[in-house]
Structures are given as structure tokens and as C-alpha cells.
């Protein structure tokens, strides 16, 4: 039994699940009040689904004011939680397992080759493989973009310099929406891989514990292949 995730990482991970879910749900409810980007009397180049609301079942908050109240409260949970996580990862040196390192493109390519069965054995690339590193490293960056674009549309007059940096209110709103889509896409990829490749990582993210023989490397696991752990092997002849 190995300790895989520190309590701070586990707690911030699950707080983030709740906060992000509420932020996305309430954000979509806010978006539905005007599911478009164009300024009145203008057209907008880059959103093909103007005027088509998001299905209500994917939204949270019940109505515009409810959604706004949730959004503007939960944003603090999201930001503080994110800062605690980043602060911990930085001071405890965990960032070394997360930042891209030399050869990441080649390593990522090896992972892709393995998943499409060109390569037979699971590459061994440390605590997280190259694809995981790319996702886990992008996540806080896209999250920060979501926060900054969010501030830009919250205070477009008092913090006009920030909103102008984003190309104005209409574009800031668009970037905020795209950042949300990217976060959702990364989350879906992450959750899919957890269930399809490494369900035991769920235990690790709850209890913190992990066993080497549960790992995808030991199981040679591709999505939905070799999900069960290796039986324990005798490691040395008994005297």
C-alpha cells in the first residue's frame, strides 16, 4: 500500500468537483438568459448556435437571479480552493509530477501508440504519464483563464482595462464560454480515463492509498482492457 495523494490534494480535488459543477451549471443558466454573443444590432462571427438555449436539465440555479447568486458565491470557493491546491503543489514539490518535462511530446506519442495497440507494453513514465501531465497541467491554466475572463465580464467598467485586454465585453464573454467548454472537455477526458483505464485511482483520490499492482502499467491497461488487478505474484522463493 502506497500513499499516492496527500490529503490536501484529495480535499481540494473533491471541493473542485462540487465548485466546478455548480459554476458550470449556474453559468449555463446565466448564459440561457441571452444564449448569444452579439451586441444588440450587430452579428457575431463565431458562435453557430445563437439563440439556442442550453437544455434546462444541464443548468443549475432555477432562474437567472438564483444562478447569478450561486455563481458569484461559488466563484470564491473555486478561486480559494484553486489557490490552496496550487500553493500546496508548489511548496511540497508535487509540481514535479505535473509540469511537462523534456520529451513530453515523444512520451505522449508513445502513450497514443499504446492505446491504439501499436505498442504492446504500457510505457512507464512515472506517477503520471505524459497525457495525464498535459491534462493536469492545462487544467489550472484554463481554470485561471476562466477566472480572469469571468472578472472581465463581472466589472467591465470598473476594470475596463482587463475587459479591453480580452477584446471588450462581447469577446470576454466568449472567451469565458470557451474556457468553460475546455474545462468540461478536459474533465470528460479525465473522468472517462478514470473509469475506463484506472478505476483504482478513484480509491487513491478518496483514501490516498494505491497499490503498484493496481496501476495501469502493471495491468497493461488500455480503455476497457485489463481492468482487473494482477494477482499478487510470489516475489522470491521461500527458503
Amino acid at each position: 500500500m502506497k500513499k499516492r495523494h496527500h490529503a490536501v490534494v484529495r480535499i481540494t480535488h473533491w471541493v473542485n468537483v462540487v465548485a466546478l459543477t455548480i459554476m458550470v451549471g449556474s453559468g449555463l443558466r446565466i448564459f440561457n438568459a441571452y444564449p448569444a454573443f452579439a451586441r444588440r444590432g450587430e452579428t457575431f462571427c463565431c458562435y453557430p448556435f445563437e439563440r439556442k438555449p442550453i437544455p434546462a436539465s444541464l443548468t443549475f440555479g432555477g432562474w437567472l437571479a438564483g444562478a447569478r447568486n450561486w455563481h458569484f458565491a461559488m466563484m470564491w470557493v473555486l478561486v480559494v480552493n484553486g489557490l490552496v491546491y496550487l500553493g500546496f503543489v508548489y511548496t511540497h514539490g508535487e509540481w514535479r509530477d505535473l509540469v511537462p518535462r523534456r520529451g513530453i511530446v515523444r512520451d505522449a506519442w508513445e502513450m497514443v501508440r499504446f492505446y491504439v495497440t501499436v505498442r504492446k507494453d504500457h510505457p512507464r513514465q512515472g506517477k503520471h504519464n505524459a497525457l495525464q501531465r498535459l491534462v493536469y497541467f492545462s487544467f489550472p491554466i484554463v481554470g485561471a483563464l476562466a477566472v480572469i475572463t469571468g472578472i472581465a465580464i463581472w466589472k467591465p467598467v470598473q476594470l475596463a482595462w482587463l475587459t479591453n485586454l480580452m477584446g471588450g465585453y462581447v469577446w470576454a464573454r466568449y472567451w469565458h464560454f470557451l474556457a468553460m467548454l475546455l474545462l468540461v472537455a478536459l474533465t470528460f477526458g479525465h473522468v472517462f480515463m478514470v473509469f475506463a483505464v484506472d478505476p483504482y485511482s478513484m480509491v487513491a483520490m478518496v483514501t490516498g492509498n494505491y497499490k503498484e499492482r493496481w496501476s495501469p502499467e502493471e495491468r497493461n491497461a488500455r480503455p476497457f482492457v485489463h481492468l482487473l488487478p494482477q494477482p499478487e505474484q510470489p516475489n522470491s522463493p521461500s527458503p
Binding site: 465585453y169 480509491v203 510470489p234 521461500s238
Partner: protein, 254 residues
């Protein structure tokens, strides 16, 4: 030399059992999470959260007040087209509110409350006061924006004319659109771009846009800007508002 034989310590048994429990655990937690998500969909969230949300709103207001500057001015993008006739009309009455002179007499704007000289101004009086106009963004709470040129009298000028007393920390803007009103903090009301507007895009307001006069400021979200204005009251405490009493942020700053 002995044959290697698989040792089966009790710990490993536990681990195997744990592996099955783990699957159950995953399914149970997945199911619970799914149920929670389904239950939460399109809901307003738990009732008990209401107090927390109000607390967050008050904290946000404090922060917004700290950020607030009279020198932060709204400047619409140079290339932005004026909304013109695309500017949405909005009111809470069943029909477009129109001031009926036959039953109510000539429309006048009252300025009262904590002032040394209460004012009562006709549209002609307003139009003869020093004129302020800006090309401004309109930030609707729904998320859309629209550009229009607003012309009228700076509220700060009216406040000087009326002699507002120092204890007046809030301003309430009343209307003849049913009981629509919204109250503001005095700081936002005295922003140089806060105007008593009587003309939009160079023409006197039409009934759909709040004639004869309305409040407009880019430092407040659309719903804070009372149309069909009748009375401006300088007050010692806040008096809520039509939308802020229903759950929208009272401060509604931009």
C-alpha cells in the same frame, strides 16, 4: 532448494476483498453522484444555502464598493454599432407605460428626501439645465449589451442644485411603471456618467424606452436603471427595489 510457492498472507485476502468492495464502492458512489446531479438539475439548490448566498452577496458588494472609482468611465468600443431601433424595450406594466396628462396633469420630476431645496422639474426645465451626453454601453443582467448615446442632466448636477445633505447615503428612483423602483448607493449615483436621461440617439425618449425621463448609468446593470422616472429621493438607508427584492443583487454594479 524448495519450490517457490505462492504465499497467501491474510493481508492479501483483505486486499482481494477490498478489490470487490472497491468496485461496489465505485458503483455506489457513482450512483449517488448521478442521483445528486439529477436532483440538482435546474433546481435552485438547497434552501439552507440561501443565507450563505446572501452572505456572499454582501461580501461581494463590499469588494465592489472598494473597486468603485468615479474616474472609471465607460468607453464603448470604437467600432461598436449603435443598437438604434434594435434597442430592447422593457417595462413591467401590461402595456407600455404612458404618462396620461389628462388625469395626472403635466409630468414633473420630483427631487426630494434629504435635500435643502426640493425640486419639481418639467421636461422643459430638465432640458434647460446643463446638458450631459455620452455614447454608452448598456449592460443587461441577461448578458447582452447595446450601445446608445444618452443625453440628459448629470445626477450630480441635480444633486448640487437640490443641495443634498451629507447623511444621504442612498438614492431611490421611483417610476410610474407600476411600482417599479430601485435604490442605489450614493457613490454610484454621483458617478459622472449617471444621468437623468431624456434623449436617446439624439431624440427625446419614446414611450418604449422610458419617456419622459429615465435614469441611466453604465456603472449599474440595466435593471437598476429606473425608466418612466417620477421621483428621486435622497435617503439615509437603502430601500431595496423591484428586482433586488426578488433576488437580484441589490448593488448590481458593473
Amino acid at each position: 532448494m524448495s519450490e517457490p510457492r505462492p504465499p497467501r498472507p491474510p493481508l492479501s485476502h483483505l486486499a482481494e476483498r477490498f478489490a470487490i468492495d472497491r468496485r461496489r464502492f465505485l458503483m455506489a458512489s457513482g450512483g449517488a453522484l448521478g442521483a445528486a446531479v439529477l436532483a440538482a438539475c435546474d433546481s435552485m439548490g438547497p434552501k439552507s444555502a440561501a443565507r450563505l448566498l446572501r452572505f456572499a452577496e454582501r461580501k461581494n458588494e463590499s469588494l465592489e464598493r472598494v473597486l468603485f472609482r468615479h474616474t472609471s468611465m465607460d468607453v464603448p468600443a470604437a467600432g461598436a454599432k449603435a443598437a438604434g431601433s434594435h434597442f430592447p424595450a422593457y417595462f413591467i406594466s401590461k402595456h407600455v407605460p404612458v404618462w396620461d396628462e389628462a388625469t395626472r396633469g403635466v409630468w414633473r420630476l420630483q427631487v426630494g428626501g434629504m435635500v435643502q431645496r426640493p425640486l419639481s422639474l418639467s421636461l422643459a426645465d430638465l432640458a434647460s439645465l446643463p446638458r450631459t451626453g455620452y455614447r454608452l454601453d448598456h449592460f443587461c443582467v441577461e448578458g447582452w449589451t447595446a450601445v446608445a448615446t444618452r443625453t440628459g442632466v448629470a445626477l450630480a448636477d441635480l444633486a448640487r442644485l437640490a443641495g443634498v445633505q451629507p447623511g444621504a447615503q442612498y438614492v431611490d428612483f421611483e417610476s410610474f411603471d407600476d411600482d417599479y423602483h430601485e435604490s442605489w448607493d450614493i457613490d454610484s449615483a454621483m458617478h459622472p456618467q449617471t444621468l437623468v436621461v431624456y434623449a436617446q440617439d439624439g431624440h427625446y425618449l419614446n414611450a418604449a424606452w422610458g419617456a419622459p425621463a429615465r435614469i441611466y448609468s453604465p456603472v449599474k446593470i440595466g435593471y437598476k436603471n429606473t425608466k418612466y422616472l417620477t421621483r428621486i429621493m435622497f435617503l439615509p438607508r437603502r430601500t431595496g427595489g423591484y428586482w433586488s427584492d426578488q433576488g437580484y443583487e441589490w448593488y448590481g454594479g458593473v
